[in-house]
Symmetry: none
Subunit: 140 residues, 4 copies
């Protein structure tokens, strides 16, 4: 039998709180999604002005990061033409996201969930995702 560590709903809101603060700081309203370690959605917020198209993208970035235990921008690097994971972006009906902004949430070496951000540039999205994680880890 396995014993799994997993984000609870309060952890999810702490992650959102940190991401929202950074999004406000850089002036880009974001879609923010938090998944558990199984890739299932725990919480989601579309800030006023966040993009409609980014709702699913944020959820799928978080799904990818937590389910694959890997940052989505790392998939971006290995899925370029000629690279080993070329074409992986259309897997799972397009849910496998290779664009930056999805990060696994890691505690004591275990992936306990993920965070996915969308509405800005991939660099902004990734920065906001990291701010969510930093705020969460600082609260432990």
């Amino acid at each position: 039998m396995l014993t799994i560590k997993r984000l609870d709903i309060n952890d999810a809101y702490t992650l959102i709180e940190g991401a929202r603060a950074k999004a406000n700081e850089i002036g880009v309203p974001m879609c923010i999604a938090i998944t558990d370690e199984g890739g299932n959605l725990i919480a989601f917020e579309r800030m006023d002005g966040g993009k409609v198209t980014s709702s699913i993208i944020a959820m799928d970035k978080s799904y990818t990061a937590s389910g694959a235990k890997k940052a989505t921008h790392d998939y971006g690097a290995v899925s370029q033409p000629g690279a080993p994971a070329y074409g992986i972006n259309s897997a799972i009906g397009g849910r496998l996201m290779v664009v930056g902004g999805g990060l696994p949430v890691i505690v004591d070496g275990d992936v306990v969930g993920g965070i996915g951000i969308s509405s800005g540039t991939p660099v902004q999205d990734q920065e906001v995702a990291q701010a969510g994680i930093d705020h969460f880890l600082g609260s432990l």
Copy 2:
């Protein structure tokens, strides 16, 4: 040009707050989804213990209620065998929900969004959705 009224993110959290309180009162952890009047997701919470399968169901109940301006249990009544809307439950790739727990959010006669609840019985889901709306309307 049309001018539309729509829930903002603070309204969405007020709706969630009211639904969560009722869910706690009846002891059933719920998935709670809030959409805008166009059916697009604004906010989502899966309470600790909420069902994984209920995540999409809650989102689709809210999508149905806001997009069709109609409670999902009303679709349940008119889609029974022999009734005029029989078979509507599989429309839109199955997103058209006819099970109770999705309600439109109406302010001054306008549908401004929707709330969808899932994890309990349809009656419990509907009760929790209504509690979210009551709490929101009471806050205006």
Copy 3:
């Protein structure tokens, strides 16, 4: 080789015009979809106030009616529990509509396209679809 008769875009707008007039007469803003005899969309109008969820439903009713050369309410009758086509409503990813409001457009015995209506009751939808066809046939 086959020679096919098919609605052109002007025919499609004539069908929409007739449906819109009836929708206004009964006071129910509708989604109106016109497909060709191959089930492919030619024209679509969501009247102001038409339901967001009804967009795809109207298109799929028209797709069903033209592609299957059959009114959607006829599928409703034969897909009841115990009837021969029971369960057909979830076919084609849920695109096979068995709710009234989709009618084939027939000229000189040939199906040349379809019309699908959604946002009212199935009876209203069917009435508006028929009004579109009557207006179109009267214009020939």
Copy 4:
């Protein structure tokens, strides 16, 4: 609560009218889709001779442009191999279009909807979309 400005059905037909005129001028029959600011379809026309495959492409270009508040050709530039949004084209089940021909419709700084064109080259599609917008803005 938010207050939103949105294209109405007459605005949608004005956009189509401008796009159709340009399509006729360059001799390329087009699929023309108009969405509201939430990405939901308002109106669609497949001109006689427009491509069947272009129906969904036009709708998804308009969905992308209005939902993401961004021209689809701008996504094309940033999603090239090695660029930051590489791989975004398969997001949202492939609905996120990065090919030119989708433009947001902006009035007084607000995105109020979108227009999506398909059947020509991406450059032709974009030109026809712009003509629709120019005609609409000129009518205000």
